[in-house]
């Protein structure tokens, strides 16, 4: 199975290749292998599957659990459609909603416990505007370990420290495999596969955090948007990239303030008067717009308010927030001598990114996780199924893994053009061959600083045009002068390349949609109104003849109808104040 191809590059073959060992990836690989134990499934990861991805330290709960007796798949699908201003192909959301309970039960069997009430029923909390979907995970710190045990049990083939850089396609347009480079040795690897599943996380290093620290991002900083860039260069369609992800967070710490956790205990998001200003803390673009307005107003900034709660309640909240997902939160507060008991905690909004986990943009997929390239799948934060969260990554990863393994059984490996491998090797290794040049951290800083200056909503057309010119200058530097001194820096160099690709895609998609939608996520100052007549559609971006083009794609007919009076449920986010 292992052999060398010309140029000293090693090559391996498999049925299904999964790229990314965070949340969706391990589940996709596991489900593929379990469905067809005779098959060869490889899980590729640029760090180490044991602790990679957004949930490296676990998760405090499920934000979108559709559990019989508490909510229905129809209700959930309706809520997500409304929260996304109607732009939602419902089939993937409905599929998720139907299957996620089975995945919850499976995770429970893996040893990840979910909170139950005294009667033994799942203890689901209400955070969303309409339905009830939030389920705490008392031992949420064990998620990655539990997953890893299952991968070991099925003897999964895991390749850590390989960073995928480009997909390979065959002459007929089908997926042929991937090119990867080792992050410790810079050795090249070609993996030929009948199907490839991209599970490479969000584009979390797109905007620059206010702290100026490149890695102080909201998303796991390892998630640089490599998956979006790879899908783009392979010719796959990406949907609604103008629908940015922007999160409310603890200012400077840049991690979640977690009103989802604190909300059911009585905590809430408040202005400087200690007053609520939004109806509900569930994240939507409309909620973020009200957040943004409050920040800019005389009642700003915005705070997480817990200081009215009982000491033991706060202790319980701390035992969650300071133990899982982003456990250094407690250290941050200790360092500033801030205590939930005594004062409100200053919040802010995050830098921009792409992430369907909380938003709606990403590689376009159908209800089987299929992209527009035959044999190529995507799942998790980088696929465009809206408001995925962790359970969406698990469930949609499972869906993609099961479909891909069946697809692989009916097909053969496709030949790729060896010249593509040679060209990619030259592109990737160029920064190592230079003796002088610009280090990747400076290329990255400049790109992301420009993202903040020009792309952060509210979006202004002229600023976007200036950004395009500046990005072109950075690209020239990246292509001709970027310098890497070792394999690690080369990984950062490739990430800088992905970040710039994502920034340029964000410009292209944002300029195309000449309306405002999704609240703050796509607030265009010159087109402040929502225009359902012309824009109740997806925008698809893809690479054609070397350049990015955008086109409209109709929203698929709804499976779950939405009543006229229901459509505006998420528009009324601001609390009405007595006159």
């Amino acid at each position: 199975m292992t052999g060398d191809i010309p140029g000293g590059i090693s090559a391996v073959e498999c049925d299904v290749l999964v790229i990314g060992g965070g949340t969706a990836g391990p589940m996709a690989a596991y489900k593929a292998k379990v469905k067809n134990p005779e098959s060869r499934v490889i899980l590729l990861e640029k760090a180490n599957v044991k602790r990679s991805g957004a949930i490296c330290m676990g998760m405090d709960g499920l934000n979108n659990a559709v559990i019989p007796g508490h909510s229905t798949p129809e209700q959930y699908t309706k809520e997500i459609t409304i929260a996304n201003d109607g732009i939602c192909d419902q089939a993937p959301v409905y599929k998720y909603a139907q299957r996620c309970f089975e995945i919850i039960q499976e995770l429970d069997r893996f040893g990840i416990r979910f909170q139950k009430d005294q009667k033994g029923d799942f203890d689901v909390k209400k955070v969303h505007h309409i339905g009830t979907y939030v389920l705490p995970m008392p031992n949420g710190d064990t998620v990655k370990k539990a997953l890893y045990r299952q991968l070991r049990r099925v003897q999964m083939l895991i390749s850590n420290r390989y960073m995928a850089t480009r997909l390979l396609t065959g002459r007929d347009g089908r997926i042929a495999g991937v090119i990867a480079v080792n992050t410790r040795t810079s050795e090249f690897l070609v993996v030929r596969a009948k199907a490839v599943i991209l599970c490479m996380g969000a584009a979390g290093r797109l905007g620059l955090p206010h702290s100026g620290y490149l890695y102080g991002t909201y998303e796991n900083a390892a998630n640089a948007g490599d998956g979006y860039a790879m899908a783009y260069h392979a010719g796959a369609a990406l949907a609604n990239l103008e629908c940015f992800q922007i999160n409310p967070l603890i200012k400077d710490y840049n991690g979640p303030a977690c009103a989802y956790v604190a909300g059911p205990f009585g905590g809430y998001t408040a202005n400087n008067e200690g007053m609520r200003f939004i109806e509900c803390d569930y994240w939507s673009g409309q909620m973020m717009l009200e957040f943004h307005r409050e920040l800019q107003s005389g009642r700003g900034p915005v705070f997480l308010k817990l200081d009215h709660l009982a000491d033991e309640t706060i202790g319980e909240i701390e035992s969650i927030l300071h133990r899982v997902e982003r456990p250094t939160r407690g250290r941050f507060h200790a360092g500033r001598s801030t205590d939930y008991r005594h004062q409100m905690i200053e919040m802010h909004v995050s830098e921009i990114g792409f992430c369907s986990g909380h938003s709606a943009s990403g590689v376009f997929v159908d209800e089987f996780g299929r992209t527009t390239i035959p044999g190529l799948y995507a799942a998790g934060d980088m696929a465009n199924v809206p408001h995925n969260y962790m359970l969406g990554a698990f469930t949609n990863g499972a869906v993609a893994g099961e479909h891909a393994i069946d697809f692989a059984a009916e097909t053969s490996l496709v030949d790729y053009d060896p010249a593509d491998v040679t060209a990619e090797r030259e592109r990737v290794l160029a920064p190592l061959k230079r003796e002088d040049g610009i280090p990747p951290n400076q290329i990255e800083y400049k790109t992301r600083r420009l993202v903040n200056d020009y792309l952060q909503p509210p979006k202004i057309t002229r600023k976007y045009e200036i950004a395009a010119d500046r990005f072109a200058e950075v690209r020239e530097d990246l292509d001709t002068a970027m310098l890497a001194r070792d394999a690690h820096e080369l990984m950062r160099a490739m990430e800088a390349s992905s970040i710039l690709d994502c920034a340029e895609m964000a410009v292209c998609a944002s300029l195309f949609r000449t309306e405002s939608r999704w609240g703050l996520y796509h607030y265009r100052v010159e087109y402040p109104e929502r225009d359902n007549e012309n824009w109740l559609c997806h925008t698809l971006l893809r690479k054609v003849d070397g350049v990015a083009i955008c086109e409209r794609r109709p929203v698929a007919p709804y499976i779950v109808p939405i009543g006229n009076e229901e459509r505006s449920a998420y528009d009324k986010q601001r609390l009405r104040r007595p006159a």
Partner: protein, 77 residues
């Protein structure tokens, strides 16, 4: 143009007395999602080689001897 080295104070600190990297342990280096830790050839102990930290804590949580401490990066503190 030549490359300069700009100093930064790094967030991850290793207690050299507790670290057993010189006995073959590589746990913290293995689990870091950003791959920023290395074993020093000079001292045989783990250290933070690249200031690219998400202050996420697997290195500290998985260290078998409690030698690793993750601090908040200075710019965020």
């Amino acid at each position: 143009m030549p490359i300069a080295n700009t100093p930064t104070t790094v967030p991850v600190v290793i207690d050299a007395d507790k670290c057993i990297a010189d006995k073959g342990c590589t746990v913290c280096v293995d689990v870091c999602p950003l791959d920023v830790l290395r074993i020093s050839e000079l001292t045989g102990k783990a250290y933070m080689k690249y200031d690219e930290c998400w202050y996420c804590m697997p290195c500290e949580a998985d260290c078998p001897t409690g030698a690793v401490k993750v601090n908040i990066p200075y710019l965020l503190r």
